[in-house]
């Protein structure tokens, strides 16, 4: 290797290393705090504790409510239920809607798509108060159903756009071939279009799941009861005006991240497939 390419290679590696450190350092901090016995802010540049301990994890997992019953499992279940239900509702509604927007022409098609886009322009906080009033009227405050509904309404527009873009790339010939083969509209949707759109569906499902799993502001607004909150809200309650248990907070953060990481590992093959989806030809 001549010196110039070698230098360029070294420079590239150094830059990538720097970016990796910048990205991972805060994560390492959180893990470090989660494993340290004290609150952890005394730590130096190297965030790893001298005497790692799992006490913080034990405290988070063993937390009890006012009646002395354990709440972590309950909150975890809340999060899983809300995220899974949001994903399910989001995928069912958005695949069918996106297919309609992609393939059929009907009055209001363009306006409908644009309306979906507009809903994406407002930050969640802006909608918190109107949504609170709506849920109050529907008696869905402090309920996972209400939260799922709210999450689904924010996830569906994005998923519809995403999936419509993908459906547009599926050649119409394939559908016409299926029609000639005797397929009904529903058959060709379920047996031809959906299998072909799998990469895109996986990506949108992952997006829906993560949105619901990580969301904090709306959950904190609509849920009060300690037994009905989701994990991000529970996490925040370790740090309030009167006490700051950073160790428990960090341990909780690590626990909350694990399922999402696992999902990414499981689905990364499809994720890449989804991102390069346009390149696949029928």
């Amino acid at each position: 290797m001549t010196p110039a390419p070698l230098l360029r290679q070294l420079g590239r590696q150094a830059a990538l290393l720097a970016v990796s450190i910048v990205t991972l350092y805060p994560v390492l901090w959180v893990v470090g705090i989660a494993l340290s016995a004290d609150a952890g802010f005394g730590a130096g540049l190297w965030p790893w504790p001298e005497h790692p301990t799992l006490d913080n994890f034990r405290r988070v997992l063993g937390a009890t409510d006012a009646l002395g019953e354990p709440v972590f499992a309950r909150q975890l279940l809340n999060s899983v239920v809300v995220a899974a239900a949001t994903t399910l509702v989001g995928i069912v509604l958005s695949t069918t809607a996106a297919y309609g927007f992609s393939r059929f022409s009907f009055p209001g098609k363009e306006q409908g798509l644009q309306a979906f886009l507009i809903t994406q322009m407002f930050p969640g906080v802006v909608m918190a108060i109107p949504l609170y009033i709506l849920l109050d009227h529907l008696r869905l405050l402090d309920s996972l159903t209400g939260l799922t509904l709210v999450y689904a309404t924010t996830a569906v527009p994005f998923c519809v756009w995403m999936l419509k873009g993908y459906f547009d790339t599926i050649p119409r010939d394939l559908e016409e071939a299926a029609i000639m083969d005797g397929a009904s509209q529903w058959t060709l949707f379920t047996r031809i279009v959906l299998p072909l759109a799998r990469p895109a569906i996986v990506v949108t499902a992952l997006f829906s799941f993560m949105t619901a799993w990580n969301e904090f502001i709306l959950a904190a607004t609509f849920l009060n009861d300690e037994r009905s909150v989701t994990l991000p809200v529970a996490l925040q309650r370790h740090v309030d005006a009167f006490s700051t248990d950073w160790g428990a907070f960090a341990a909780g953060a690590v626990i909350v991240s694990l399922p999402v990481m696992a999902l990414f590992f499981l689905l990364q093959k499809h994720l890449v497939g989804g991102l390069t989806a346009g390149g696949v030809k029928g």
């Binding site: 000639m180 083969d181 058959t187 299998p195 029928g282």
Partner: protein
């Protein structure tokens, strides 16, 4: 087994009139090729027959049924698409089975038909593969197999060979023809390729701008074109045309003289003062005496007593050697002509040379100046 009939069929998309009054009948077991330049409406004709489009006006019949309102799956037709349209996530076998499964055909019947079609098309070793692991020709065959297993009463082909290379296309042409003979089923085949039309068709329907220009056997269209468009569309290199005026007993244009008495003109032709003359490149022959050395200028195109009924004088511009034959690009008056000559005639000719040609009067076509209609009375 079914005949097909279009009666006064029109199809418009908004203000665009794609098919403008089509009347054609396809006999049971016939191979009809619909041919025409791109945008002529030929694919729309096929899609109308398939049921993927509904006619704006008129009647489409398959067998004894009017099918205007019948959905594709109930028409008993199968279609082969230009893009093949194989289901990418299904194996070859599953692709072939798809239609039969939807029709709830018994499993043993499905297996038997798939095996039979695979055998017929040489797909047996490929049945468990996905379409992406097939070559273009193999995909094409799967697309045909998918139609065959359905045992439809009409096959529809939408430019099925246009994505194949030349050698494979020639091979598939033969296979398709063989298939037609074996199945003896009505086939409607759309193409823009005149070679496919000429070689495969029992009859050809030539479309232009949504209007049938001529319907007939390949020989009909080639030797007895109904109008100038048909004459120009079929044949490669295409027919030469020149506008000529009647002068006494001949049609005359700069460099061209054709005696009228040698032409079987119809009534309109007899009356016409101005016409368009057409002659195919290989029908022009180098005049005897001119062979190898070129012709002395002038005398050959005079209306002298011993001159042949058809004379063409031209200036050689370019030679295109093609082995045994040579395409001569010449100029006749202002008109560019192509003459296909044999190498031994050409000798040492070079651009700029004056040449003289003749043609048999029976090889000259005469068309109207305005409508392009043929002005000859064809016999035999």
């Amino acid at each position: 087994m079914a005949q097909v009939r279009f009666a006064a069929v029109r199809k418009s998309f908004g203000d665009v009139h794609v098919v403008r009054g089509l009347d054609v009948e396809v006999a049971d077991g016939e191979f009809l090729v619909v041919v025409g330049p791109s945008g002529c409406g030929k694919s729309t004709v096929l899609r109308l027959l398939a049921g993927l489009e509904t006619p704006s006006e008129g009647r489409i019949e398959i067998g004894d049924r009017v099918v205007n309102e019948v959905p594709p799956r109930d028409r008993d037709v199968a279609m082969v698409f230009q893009s093949y349209a194989l289901y990418p996530h299904l194996t070859v076998r599953e692709n072939l089975e798809f239609g039969l499964r939807l029709a709830r055909t018994p499993g043993d019947v499905i297996a038997a038909r798939v095996d039979e079609a695979a055998e017929m098309l040489g797909l047996t070793p490929l049945l468990e593969r996905l379409p992406k692991a097939l070559s273009g020709g193999q995909r094409q065959r799967v697309a045909m197999g998918r139609a065959i297993v359905r045992r439809p009463s009409v096959f529809l082909f939408d430019e099925p060979l246009s994505n194949l290379d030349a050698a494979l296309r020639a091979q598939m042409r033969v296979e398709l023809k063989r298939l037609h003979r074996e199945l003896a089923t009505t086939m409607v085949y759309v193409t823009h390729d005149q070679v496919e039309a000429m070689t495969m068709a029992d009859r050809i329907l030539l479309l232009n701008e949504g209007i049938a220009q001529q319907i007939g056997t390949p020989d009909d269209l080639y030797f007895r074109p109904a109008n100038r468009f048909v004459a120009a569309f079929l044949g490669s290199p295409r027919m030469n045309f020149v506008r000529a005026a009647r002068e006494g007993d001949a049609f005359v244009a700069p460099g061209v003289r054709v005696a009228t008495e040698a032409l079987p003109l119809n009534a309109a032709g007899q009356a016409a003062g101005e016409v368009v003359l057409g002659v195919r490149p290989h029908d022009l022959r180098v005049r005897s005496g001119a062979r190898g050395g070129g012709a002395p200028e002038g005398a050959l195109v005079e209306a002298s007593a011993d001159a042949p009924p058809v004379t063409v004088r031209a200036t050689l511009e370019l030679l295109e050697p093609m082995g045994w034959e040579v395409n001569l690009h010449v100029r006749v008056g202002e008109e560019p002509f192509i003459v296909r000559a044999e190498v031994r005639d050409v000798g040492s000719w070079s651009p700029g040379q004056e040449l003289a040609f003749t043609a048999a009067p029976a090889d000259v076509r005469v068309f109207g100046v305005d409508d392009g209609a043929c002005l000859l009375e064809y016999t035999g």
